[in-house]
Symmetry: C2
Subunit: 179 residues, 2 copies
């Protein structure tokens, strides 16, 4: 049973970048690359941040709970970070994955650092379900369901979104405890 | 300029599983899931292994140097591992990425744990180039080049493959030094 609406946005746009960040130019005071959309934090999407990283929610009705962990430093690869920042990053990834599993019970978690389109280190942490639009393929693959079927949000997805809200609320405290 | 041959294998087959492993059933002596293709190591593809992880090369002429880091334990997610194994895993990922960058100078490195098709923890560490078949999309996306163009290996790819051989030879010593 499908209830109204929410067009699924094109994967290439939504899942490899942050659209709301894309729309705002970086500050002229900033020495970071003018063209990098991830060098300007989106305060609305940001769940938590410190000097090294920020966690942002990705509001995709078909992948409720999707988050990205973004380096505050403009580097392309994890091996560009200091050993301290690498350690923190990995602890954050594990803690976020754990909280996602506890709150959302996804069938699988996908964790990926690609950055081919936006070469500023960021990790996608994606809850996956066997009935989601792409499963068992990646979210960057062609959808398994028809575009018509993908244009509405299901009752199951609405329930998951409610749980995603709980996850998003719980995760800042978890991240803040990690050094 | 394109020289002969090597058909590009379907992404879904090659990049989300290990075909040569798929063909061999796991030992009946093993208590691990009979159906899991990653529970039986492929000795030909394995570059290095210890009690926790093994590193295997993925021979794809269009992505020379591609490797996978596979958990020796049949678990689905990184948060299922012990803290000790998690720490080793992350150090391995950084070290492998660094060695890949030094040896291959890719335009980007993609690092991903998906496992939707084979829910046994494994990481893809993929060198990416701006002229590869999928760039700037993921390797799980539809290719950017036509199938006709993708059926031959370019001179540039042959040169990269030679450097990939050097990378594959160097990486076991690097992994062995990490605890």
């Amino acid at each position: 049973m499908r209830s109204a609406v929410a067009q699924h946005p094109p994967v290439g746009t939504v899942l490899e970048s942050e659209p709301s960040i894309m729309s705002g130019p970086p500050s002229a005071m900033d020495s970071r690359p003018i063209s990098c959309p991830l060098c300007t934090p989106d305060s609305v999407a940001t769940l938590w941040s410190d000097d090294h990283f920020r966690l942002v929610k990705v509001v995709d009705p078909h992948l409720p709970g999707f988050v990205r962990l973004i380096s505050q430093q403009h580097v392309a690869e994890m091996s560009d970070l200091s050993a301290t920042a690498q350690r923190q990053m990995f602890r954050l990834l594990v803690a976020i994955e754990s909280a996602m599993r506890v709150n959302l019970s996804p069938d699988k978690v996908n964790v990926a650092s690609l950055g081919n389109q936006v070469p500023h280190l960021h990790w996608h942490i994606i809850p996956r379900w066997k009935d989601d639009l792409y499963f068992p393929d990646s979210i960057w693959s062609a959808p398994k369901r028809s575009p018509a079927a993908s244009s509405a949000v299901t009752v199951v997805e609405v329930e998951r979104l409610a749980r995603a809200e709980t996850f998003w609320k719980s995760v800042p405290e978890i991240c803040a405890a990690i050094r």
